[in-house]
Amino acid sequence: MNWTELDTWIVITGVLVCLACALPGAFLMLNRQSMLGDGISHAVLPGLAIAFLLTHSRDILPMVVGAVVAGVLTAVLTQAVQRFGQVESGAALGVVFCGLFATGLILIRVASDRVDLDADCVLYGSIETAVVDVARVPRVALISGGLFLVNALLTVLFYKELRLAAFDPALATTLGFNADAIRLGLTLVASVTTVLAFESVGSILVIAMLVVPAATASLLTSNLSRLLVTAMLFAAASAVLGHIGAITLPGFAGRLLGHPGLGATSSAAMMAVTAGILFLLVWVFSMWRDSHGRPQRSTPT
């Protein structure tokens, strides 16, 4: 393995992005809204199209602004559909993101079919190229570090509120918190995090980190603070192991299968795969543990 400064920055950025996503991801899971990130990856399309039609530019700034607006709109509309339409949260998100995505397709077809305007082309970054920068510290590392700090700070500040809103909305309301407002705040923060992380490292890593580390941690603990810490540990581990896997495994597998000289594969995708593998291992471990007489997990408290 030939470790370079490039690898160091990919891992640092990967860890920061994964941490930044794992925190809101844990609360989204508790609120049964884990797929928000996936929904937003589709829902940004009309935001991109409208930003382009207004500014006639495919520069990154208008594209990100359009995408953030679309992401926030997804969060708000999902909450509204869920509350006023009396539907389950997953269905509400489905209704909203499909609607927005389809609107985006129509806008592109009608207004700008001769301009390449998909999220892959104009919005999604990739962690491998994003770390190439003029400055000593790549901009993308600063952005993901900032996202992580803000999310950590918000989690600490609103810990009690978030916990109550997730586990006992009725009690939260009796105690004078507006559980709906807290959940809306959570989804708004998660949407902005998601879009900014998309811009830095692409979609798949972000979607995976919103869901998988929290799910893995929930197999091991039912205590909220431990859940958060464990989720962050798994997120960081996925980033580190994922990148190492991306640069070593193809060559290794290639030698086994008689295709020497295979290069690295996508680091972001490998980080997501690693998160999945860690989940699988922990799941097997927790089944083994449960069958050996430890008391069953209760619901998180």
Binding site: V115, C121, V134
Partner: protein
């Protein structure tokens, strides 16, 4: 940590549009302080990294044996969707010279090329000197140019000149060599251009219509007098509506167009829908074959070169629509009879 040093200093500090000597010195002094031995001379057999196959091929033709040319995108890879890996980025950072296509063909990777240039590598877009009048752009969106310029051979001949000029700039010692290679290669391309004009104008006039999966053939159509109709838009996210398909079916039936085409890097489901649509109206349309649009054929084959790719497209289209062209193309080298 050799590789870190390498990527900090192991390349030439040239700027594509000419940095002043003062900044250049400052830059090298700064970098020399970061790492001791800053070398500014181009090593013999220097490394060039390119993006898509069409760029790789013309750079190889011009650079000859003076440089190692390595392309990032393999056969059949859609440059619109290409995602670089860490090895690709490491290659880019180590390269002495980088060539890419430009005009947003590489999407957000263009940002990376800009940054690599700013860090001191010589980075060139082969389309950078094309005349604005040559470029096609949608009427309503100024500046968002159609990137598929290689479909018009005369456009890619300009790109060859850009390659020669750029290489002469970074390696002035061999300037004459590059110019000679470019001239020789452009003579071949000029022959190809003539062949395309002749073969395609032999198609009966009312049948000079090219229907393909996506909008990559507008330059081709303009250069060779063929009406081009894509089923879906330029963006890979774009979808064809039922109305679009029906309109095209009407058109095919009215004009009795005998063949439509699929592309090597785009899904062919819409094309199949068209064939079915025409069949239900009693008009037999056949799939004329697979055109190369954003990617070339197998490396090492004739179709895996820019010349072969265009020859393949031209010969296939001309023969399928009822024109005259030799069944093995301009140079008699096409792998299959068309």
């Amino acid at each position: 940590m050799k590789s870190v040093m390498e990527y900090l200093v192991g390349r030439r500090f040239a700027w594509p549009h000419g940095l002043t000597v003062g900044t250049l010195t400052l830059l090298s002094v700064f970098l020399a302080s970061a790492a001791s031995a800053a070398s500014k001379t181009l090593p013999a057999n220097y490394g060039i990294v390119t993006t898509c196959g069409m760029v790789t091929d013309i750079v190889r033709e011009v650079a000859g044996d003076k440089a190692r040319v390595s392309g990032l995108l393999g056969e059949g890879v859609d440059p619109h969707l290409y995602k670089p890996t860490r090895d690709d980025v490491a290659k880019l950072l180590k390269a002495d010279v980088v060539f890419y296509s430009g005009l947003m063909l590489e999407g957000r990777m263009s940002d990376t090329f800009l940054k690599i240039a700013r860090r001191g590598a010589s980075v060139f877009a082969v389309t950078e000197l094309l005349d604005e009048k040559f470029l096609l752009e949608p009427e309503e969106f100024h500046g968002h140019t159609d990137p598929h310029v290689w479909m018009d051979v005369s456009g890619w001949m300009e790109a060859v000149k850009v390659v020669a000029r750029s290489l002469s700039e970074v390696d002035p010692e061999h300037a004459a060599f590059y110019e000679r290679n470019a001239k020789r290669y452009n003579t071949q391309l000029a022959r190809l251009d003539d062949y395309a004009k002749k073969a395609l104008s032999s198609i009966p006039k009312e049948r000079r219509v090219l229907i393909t999966a996506h909008d990559a053939f507008h330059y081709f159509g303009r250069a060779y007098g063929i009406e081009v109709r894509g089923i879906q838009g330029i963006s890979t996210e774009s979808e064809a509506g039922v109305a679009d398909i029906n309109k095209l079916v009407d058109y095919l039936v009215d004009r009795k167009i005998p063949a439509i085409f699929v592309e090597s890097s785009v899904s062919d489901k819409n094309i199949k829908a068209l064939v079915e649509g025409c069949k239900s109206r009693g008009h037999q349309v056949r799939i004329g074959g697979e055109l190369f649009s954003d990617a070339m054929g197998k490396p090492g084959s004739y179709e895996g070169t820019y010349l072969g790719m265009i020859d393949h497209n031209v010969t296939l289209i001309a023969r399928a629509l009822g024109g005259e062209a030799p069944e093995r193309g301009l140079n008699g080298k096409l792998a299959e009879k068309h």
